[in-house]
């Protein structure tokens, strides 16, 4: 790389150019800084061309801050607009590979500094532009042609900024419209495995990580930079069931990363093979068997849910990287997913939310159900919740009648059937040492309306050495 006046190496990433050693500052907190990558037809690109609009580095005054915009045009047979953001992310890396040039932030917040040492070796920004484009074409070979324009003139930068913001807006709209079926790869994250050893966080376009911090795009970016790191790609494999969000690739990784503890994770299911829960989830969902509905409580909510438990108690029981049927940890953003627990009725199954959470996510709750979901202002226990749902005619109410009919039939048929039907969930039991995982095998948990018996315990303390359940011959 002798052709460039400064050294180029990944080891310069993270280099800090201090004010004392700085020749000029470009963009940043005190000015305007922009970077943008556009896909263009091949014939519109003059390969390797650097254009400078406004003062070049030689015309700049030492110690000053200048506005800065850089627009890269890329072309190639495989280049398409969807790749713009992927390529744009690398601008940060490649500029930082250049010795004496510090690049920070992204998009319309770009902040750069050029060191005195490097500035002394530059007559123009041209070799800098050529160096960055060389890095792009070497590392991302699908870029066949590339050209760049640097803007340092205030009015020009402002103009580019306005146009770029429109482009980012349109790009974000496309991004938000990306769904599980549009991609071949999901991402996994094992950051939580230090305290939830069997947790397998699967991040798909329609499912944000449980902590809410990592979406599909973050997974993609991180896995590219460090494939051996905590975020990695998961080939989604074959679609086994669209409704529950079951993919063969996800099942494989669930098996592998949980050391065989689970063999299935269904991304959009609440009851059957749900996603594991780490402990850092933003919101926990809980099944309320008495109303056959699901309530959700967020970490910030200090009060009790209608089942008599607060967030921390439920989080304590749900966390640890297990599949706990009847509870589910999620990131707030999952409420916005069009596939939100779609295997189990989606929003029509939601019966309770803390008012602060309901307000926060109001825009995503379907209008026809919004008023039918109770908050702590409407219901604080099962009885008041039941009354509220009945009064509002919540969709779950329809299932109650059906369930009651079934129960009556059973009672008639099986006189010996001992049913202990009382009005509280097992998770209400204050009894210490209750084994949550045991609940996974309880029939009432796996099927709200699937028929069969329904057992509800109240203030019960159960210890069982051995239990045998067999089919009636």
């Amino acid at each position: 790389m002798a052709e460039f006046p400064f050294e180029i190496s990944p080891m310069f990433e993270g280099e800090r150019v201090r004010k004392e050693g700085m020749f000029v500052e470009l963009g940043g907190p005190k000015s305007l800084g922009l970077e943008l990558v556009r896909a263009k037809p091949m014939d519109e690109i003059v390969d390797d061309k650097v254009t400078i609009v406004g003062p070049d580095i030689k015309e700049m005054e030492e110690g000053k801050t200048y506005p800065w915009a850089m627009i890269f045009n890329i072309g190639g047979e495989l280049v398409e607009p969807d790749l713009e953001s992927v390529v744009e992310r690398r601008v940060h890396d490649f500029i930082n590979y250049c010795q004496g040039i510090m690049h920070l932030n992204q998009r319309y917040d770009v902040w750069m500094r050029v060191s005195k040492d490097t500035a002394a070796k530059l007559d123009s920004f041209e070799p800098f532009g050529k160096a960055v484009m060389m890095l792009f074409k070497t590392e991302l070979p699908f870029i066949e042609k590339m050209q760049v324009t640097f803007y340092t003139d205030q009015a020009e930068v402002e103009k580019q900024m306005v146009e770029a913001k429109e482009i980012f807006k349109a790009r974000d709209a496309r991004t938000k419209d990306l769904h599980d079926e549009d991609v071949d790869v999901f991402y996994g994250c094992t950051l939580c495995q230090s305290f939830a050893p069997t947790n397998v966080c699967v991040v798909s376009p329609d499912r944000v990580s449980l902590c809410g911090a990592i979406n599909w795009f973050d997974g993609r970016a991180a896995a590219k930079v460090d494939p051996e790191g905590p975020q990695f790609s998961i080939d989604k494999g074959e679609l086994l069931d669209a409704k529950t969000g079951e993919y063969s690739g996800v099942n494989d990784i669930a098996k592998k990363l949980s050391s065989g503890e689970f063999d299935k994770i269904k991304l959009h299911s609440f009851f059957d093979s749900p996603h594991t829960s780490c402990g850092c989830f933003e919101v926990v969902g809980f099944y309320i068997p008495e109303v056959d509905g699901i309530g959700w409580v967020n970490r910030e909510y200090q009060g009790m849910a209608p089942n008599g438990l607060g967030f921390s108690t439920m989080a304590g029981q749900t966390g640890g990287g297990k599949q706990i049927v009847g509870f589910l940890g999620i990131g707030v953003n999952y409420f916005y997913s069009p596939k939100f627990i779609q295997a189990d009725g989606g929003w029509n199954r939601v019966v309770w939310l803390p008012s602060m959470l309901k307000e926060k996510i109001a825009e995503t709750i379907p209008d026809d159900i919004k008023d039918k979901i109770a908050t702590e202002n409407d219901a604080t226990d099962i009885e008041s919740l039941k009354a509220f749902l009945q009064e509002k005619n919540h969709p779950v109410v329809a299932t109650w009648a059906a369930a009651e009919e079934e129960e009556e039939e059973e009672e008639e048929e099986e006189e010996e059937a001992e049913e202990v039907a009382v009005a509280a969930a097992p998770m209400m039991m204050p009894a210490a040492g209750f084994q949550m995982p045991a609940m996974a095998s309880m029939p009432m948990m796996s099927a709200g309306k699937a028929g069969g018996i329904k057992i509800t315990f109240k203030k019960a303390k159960i210890s069982i050495d051995r239990m045998v359940i067999s089919e009636k011959k």
């Binding site: 993270g14 920070l104 917040d109």
Partner: protein, 257 residues
């Protein structure tokens, strides 16, 4: 850029033993020698910035909260945001550029959410940032929280500051034990006795021997420090010939400078 080997020195100890003063004196001595260094205030309870003559600094805690709020928005404006680049920008922005050295304040503890992801980004940023400096000096709280979170991974020299109190030494002993439990790599552990007087110096030496602690310095009780504190003069401006500053010079030598 940078230094192929960056020496990381962490200073800790029980509150009130004067560890922040010792940190400030070390920073002063090394930066005067032309060592390019990063000073890190990793104890939310201390006032290293004020001791160095720097006020109203932003903190890593602020940067983390900013990113955490941004990325856990229910509907992020830009789902494809380069979070690493944004956090790095915030961190680089809050670094206070002092004459001859940089200052970074860790600041407030985390909020209630999950910071695994943000901390993981921060670790990567800190790893690279540290290579910009010849020396990093960290004023750390006795619980060594930032090390257990591995925000800063390796320490070459861990210095425990103690006064003549039995509790000061106990803390030193506990820190010794804590270090064994940490995943971080800690090179050597030393003890500096602070506020030493003619009457307690013998006792201090004996205590250190009993507890098998490696004492590398005894800083005399310096009336100059108290005087500066009352007047609100930053300790950074202490005269070279004050008794504390003289002893610091000998410690710096023992640390290999």
């Amino acid at each position: 850029m940078g230094y192929s080997v960056t020496k990381v020195i962490a200073i800790t100890g029980k509150g009130g033993t004067g560890k922040t003063a010792v940190a400030a004196l070390l920073i002063r001595s090394l930066s005067k020698k032309g060592k390019f260094l990063l000073a890190v205030d990793a104890d939310a309870d201390t006032n290293l910035p004020e001791t160095l003559g720097c006020e109203d600094v932003k903190t890593i805690g602020d940067a983390k909260e900013y990113l955490q709020a941004e990325i856990t928005k229910p509907r992020p404006d830009n789902p494809d945001m380069n979070k690493e680049a944004v956090l790095k920008s915030k961190v680089y922005e809050i670094i206070e550029e002092m004459p001859g050295y940089d200052l970074l304040v860790m600041g407030r503890p985390e909020g209630s959410g999950c910071y695994c992801y943000v901390n993981n980004l921060l670790r990567g940023i800190m790893d690279k940032l540290i290579t910009n400096y010849e020396v990093v000096i960290i004023d750390a709280e006795a619980g060594l929280e930032h090390f257990s979170r591995k925000i800063i991974r390796d320490i070459d020299d861990l210095i425990v500051v103690t006064d003549a109190s039995r509790r000061g030494f106990r803390t030193a002993e506990r820190i010794h034990e804590l270090v064994d439990e940490l995943d971080s790599n800690v090179g050597r552990i030393h003890v500096i006795a602070n506020k030493v007087t003619d009457t307690n110096s013998e006792k201090l030496v004996k205590l250190a021997e009993d507890l098998k602690l490696n004492m590398i310095g005894m800083i005399p009780l310096d009336p100059k420090i108290e005087e500066m504190d009352i007047k609100g003069v930053p300790l950074f401006e202490i005269p070279d010939d004050s008794v504390a500053a003289v002893e610091i010079e000998s410690i710096v030598k023992k640390l290999g400078f």
